[in-house]
């Protein structure tokens, strides 16, 4: 039994209008808050097998590189790594003393001690996302206690923060995305500012810096920790261009991120809380959910 043609068409038009309105509503909700996280992570889990399959060649390639390297090459690499480790250990010895001393001084000053940070290595999943957004997919999710707003770093600096999580994967927004802003300070003189992405992986912009401010090419920017979302004192970028447009009160300053935003395959997730206090971490996560800090 088929319906008369006219009724069918009317029903289809009605459904179209309903769906268009539904799209508009969920886009608004998704853009404003994270209420649709459940839907997103459900669909995310459903397409995980596809992402897994697509990622398989990349994983296989890295495995075969490991398995088929020559012995000589491995020996050379091993020697190099031992050297680097020795260097780092030597530095670490000094660092431990300094850390204790720092805590003593902080105690003397009556300021709170800095908390230790806990990290987890995650691997980027080789799938392409929206080419007009700077984001990456990594292979850790809620099963590893990843939370929304969690900072992501690589060996050289801050990469971005987590914006969506599902069971086995999560999506991170890179600091180079135009919608990402991050409070920073210049190491040399402590000048505070905010950097915003430009949509390119090799440049970020320093916002609201007066023309008269003491900023030089080559200055290193570190996180100031002011937004509360990122831990303080991680390197972010290095200033590589300063322009003073005539008539403007602000300087145009560009910096290059120190993290290899488009190359790092291994990334680190940071918990900047005590790892053992689970409840503490929970509140942190929920705070991050609700708080609309400047770095979201």
């Amino acid at each position: 039994m088929q319906q008369p043609l006219f009724q069918q068409e009317a029903a289809a038009s009605f459904r179209l209008i309903v769906l268009l309105i539904a799209s508009a509503v969920i886009m608004t909700v998704d853009h404003r808050d994270n209420h649709l996280q459940v839907v997103r992570s459900f669909i995310s889990n459903a397409i995980y097998p596809i992402q897994y399959v697509v990622n398989a060649p990349a994983r296989m390639a890295s495995w075969s590189v490991e398995a088929l390297t020559e012995r000589r090459q491995l020996l050379v690499e091993n020697a190099g790594l031992k050297n680097a480790l020795l260097n780092l250990q030597a530095k670490q010895q000094k660092l431990e003393v300094l850390e204790v001393e720092n805590q003593h001084l902080r105690a003397l000053l009556g300021s709170s001690a800095r908390v230790d940070q806990n990290v987890l290595v995650a691997e980027q999943i080789a799938v392409d996302l929206d080419p007009y957004k700077q984001q990456i997919l990594i292979d850790k999710g809620t099963s590893e206690n990843v939370y929304i707003g969690q900072p992501l770093i690589d060996a050289n600096g801050i990469m971005g923060q987590i914006i969506h999580v599902s069971t086995n994967t999560s999506t991170a927004l890179l600091i180079s995305d135009p919608n990402h802003a991050l409070p920073v300070e210049i190491v040399r003189n402590g000048l505070r500012s905010v950097i915003a992405g430009l949509g390119q992986t090799d440049a970020v912009e320093l916002l609201h810096v007066p023309s008269s401010a003491d900023v030089r090419i080559g200055d290193t920017l570190v996180t100031s920790g002011l937004g509360g979302r990122f831990p303080a004192d991680y390197p972010v970028a290095r200033i590589n261009a300063i322009d003073h447009p005539p008539g403007s009160a602000f300087a145009q300053i560009y910096a290059q991120p120190t993290a290899a935003l488009n190359r790092s395959r291994e990334v680190l997730l940071v918990w900047h809380n005590e790892p053992e206090s689970e409840s503490n971490q929970e509140t942190q996560a929920s705070q991050n959910d609700t708080e609309q800090a400047p770095d979201s």
Binding site: E9, A12, S13, R15, L16, L19, L20, A22, S23, A24, I26, M27, D30, H31, L36, V39, R40, I43, S44, A46, I47, I50, Q51, V53, V54, A58, A126, V127, D128, L129, D130, P131, Y132, K133, Q135, L137, H164, T171, P178, N179, G199, N262
Partner: protein, 161 residues
């Protein structure tokens, strides 16, 4: 009618399309990726308009949004709109020669990209090169005849009509 035994064929075509959509390409080529999922949606809404309607297109759109990491509903909006048009005009479009079909499909894909761009504009994230944004739609001029023939063979093989 679709035999229950062959119902998996339609999701399978979408799985292939999704693989093509998230397959890593060099960064320069990423912006030129053909709109595979949208093309498969258009094929099924032209071929079996009674079973594959705008609701299915909308669901596929949501999955595409999650796979892309774009705003939830951004692709769904455009996809259910073009599926609606394809459903309405399937009798005219289906009998047209492949070349003309490709032109119609390209126009529909342009409309879908237009919706998506409009939403980018609303959330303040307009791509720098807007002309480049529409290039993937034009790839359908070349790719649609192939996609159509392959999907038609699949459809006939599994007797989906």
């Amino acid at each position: 009618m679709i035999h229950v035994r062959n119902v998996w064929v339609i999701p399978a075509t979408f799985v292939v399309a999704f693989v093509l959509v998230i397959l890593p390409l060099p960064e320069a080529a990423n912006a030129f990726r053909p709109l595979w999922v949208s093309m498969v949606v258009l094929y099924w809404s032209l071929a079996i308009p009674r079973s594959f309607g705008i609701g299915s297109a909308w669901m596929i759109g949501l999955i595409l949004d999650v796979a892309h990491g774009s705003l939830l509903g951004q692709n769904a909006l455009g996809l259910c709109f073009i599926a609606y048009i394809a459903n309405r005009l399937h009798q005219q479009i289906r009998v047209a020669p492949l070349g003309q079909q490709a032109v119609v499909v390209t126009v529909l894909l342009l409309a879908k990209q237009g919706f998506s761009l409009w939403i980018y504009g609303i959330i303040g994230r307009v791509p720098e090169n807007i002309a480049l944004y529409f290039v993937p739609s034009f790839l359908a001029l070349i790719l649609w005849p192939w996609a159509f023939v392959i999907l038609r063979d699949v459809r006939r093989r599994y007797r989906i009509s």
